[in-house]
């Protein structure tokens, strides 16, 4: 009886060490300096979209929060990730709504299904400007079913609409499911990390990338901060 219990415990440890030693990396992304002011977007040529916004929306190149917090930064494990090759079954969704991309930055795993929705009363033509992956662009009139696609290689892809020049979004195609996108307060969290050495990378669409090395030894939370230098223009 005792040997059986021991065996189960050992097996659990082998199969999923994260259950016993679940380390977490969390922290904040911020900036120094003065970022450029977001610019208002005039959508008057597309009335069906313009009327969805009570106040004109602004560009999302730099989304800054209180206390120099920087949002929309993709924080992920770029080396040492324990789950390479495990593709999530669930699809990620990218929505075109009010002539805007929601979310502005979408993270997905290589090989994971990507669904593109058009919730507007106008035609969109999504055009992700992929360089290492295969490039495509697809027209999507209102009421058409979602577009289903996937990317095989790791890449940060700029997404534009061939009909509405102001629309801009990003795809972050990663080889790991250990990622987070910083919130308005700049916060991010990467939980369930088994002990090991990791390289954490933070990517921002305008300010570039930064990396930080972290070692997780057991059931602990490591604090990592990233500070980007803001550009005035």
């Amino acid at each position: 009886m005792r040997t059986k219990q021991m065996l189960v415990a050992l097996l659990t440890l082998l199969v999923c060490p994260c259950l016993l030693f679940a380390g977490t990396v969390s922290g904040k992304v911020s900036y120094t300096g003065t970022p450029a002011k977001p610019k208002p977007i005039d959508m008057s040529k597309e009335p069906s979209c313009a009327k969805q916004h009570a106040t004109p929306i602004t560009t999302e190149t730099v989304v800054a929060g209180a206390n120099n917090a920087l949002a929309n930064v993709v924080v992920y494990i770029s080396a040492g990730a324990p789950d390479e090759g495990q593709v999530p079954q669930q699809a990620v969704t990218f929505e075109q709504k009010g002539c805007q991309y929601i979310p502005h930055v979408l993270v997905m795993h290589t090989g994971q299904e990507l669904k593109v929705l058009n919730s507007d009363q106008t035609s969109h033509n999504i055009h992700p400007l992929a360089k290492t992956n295969r490039e495509w662009n697809k027209s999507q009139p209102p009421g058409t079913p979602p577009i289903s696609e996937k990317y095989d290689k790791e890449e940060f892809i700029t997404v534009k609409c061939n009909v509405h020049p102001w629309m801009r979004g990003y795809f972050a195609v990663l080889k790991t499911s250990h990622y987070d996108v910083s919130k308005d307060d700049g916060g991010f969290k990467l939980p369930n990390l088994p002990p090991g050495k990791y390289t954490i990378t933070a990517w921002h669409e305008d300010y570039g990338t930064q990396t930080s090395d972290v070692t997780i030894t057991g059931n602990e939370t490591k604090d990592v901060t990233f500070t980007f230098k803001a550009k005035a223009y």
Binding site: K45, T61, N162, P165, D206
Partner: protein, 266 residues
């Protein structure tokens, strides 16, 4: 049978002439200072072409009516004295009419295209790109910053490829998605295409001018009536052509200054 055709021809000709003679579909209101010349030219062209059209149709109907009952074996009579003189006369008549229209029309055309803009005309730049128009005002310094195609970043609202980091002139340039202008002031609009051929057309302004990639063309005009008018692209430019438009806001001077000030603060 032939007589029925002749009568049908007369009816079709007259019915199609009625809405033109009655001005059933008048052109949209003219809000420009030069538009009257173009409207007058259109009227003259319509009158002369319409008169020739009716004359030709009625003459055709007359001949059909005349020879409708002709038997197969009947020989056609030759035209008395031959038709050479008549053909030459018709050619001279039509030719001189078209020439006259062209010469008179030059005046309306040259007024817009060959005369230079006034010295105090306000310069605005229009940029067409798939599938939207954007307009640029020089700002407080009165100077446009340089354009750098590699700096174009539409997701960041940099449609003209400005480089404010290194180019001081471009820092106060005002970029807008609508063309706001003061009434009763001459505007010198410079047209620049980002990608393919487009066209700037405002019906009420009586202006239609192509954007040609690689060429900076200019048109000048003075709008007289405040209001909001549609600017449409009238050169097939791709998938989104049907949806390529912007608005022209003709404002009173004070309103225009307020508009500009609001934009400058953004």
């Amino acid at each position: 049978m032939g007589k029925i055709l002749a009568v049908t021809l007369v009816i079709v000709a007259i019915v199609s002439a009625v809405p033109i003679v009655m001005h059933t579909w008048p052109p949209p209101e003219d809000i420009s200072t030069h538009g009257y010349a173009i409207d007058k030219q259109m009227d003259e062209t319509m009158l002369e072409a319409g008169f020739s059209f009716l004359a030709a149709q009625l003459l055709l109907a007359l001949f059909i009516w005349q020879y409708a009952g002709r038997q197969k074996q009947d020989k056609l009579k030759t035209f008395p004295g031959g038709a050479k003189g008549l053909v030459i006369a018709a050619l001279v008549l039509v030719g001189s009419e078209i020439l006259a229209l062209g010469v008179i029309g030059q005046k309306a055309w040259a007024n817009v295209y060959f005369a230079p803009p006034d010295k105090d005309a306000m310069t605005i730049q229009a940029q067409a790109g798939q599938f939207a128009f954007y307009f640029r005002y020089p700002g407080a310094d009165g100077k446009f910053g340089g354009m750098h195609p590699d700096k174009i970043d539409e997701g960041n609202q940099n449609f003209f490829g400005l480089d404010p980091e290194n180019d001081v002139d471009s820092r106060d340039d005002i970029v807008a998605a609508e063309l706001a202008i003061p009434a009763n002031r001459q505007i010198n609009l410079m047209l620049h295409s980002k990608d393919v051929g487009h066209s700037f057309y405002v019906r009420e302004l009586r202006i239609q001018q192509d954007f040609v990639p690689g060429l900076d063309l200019a048109v000048h005009f003075t709008a007289t009536k405040p209001g909001r008018y549609e600017i449409v692209c009238t050169q097939l430019c791709g998938l989104g052509h049907y949806n390529m438009k912007a608005y022209l806001s003709v404002l009173f001077q004070e309103e225009f200054e307020k508009w500009l000030k609001e934009r400058a603060g953004q």
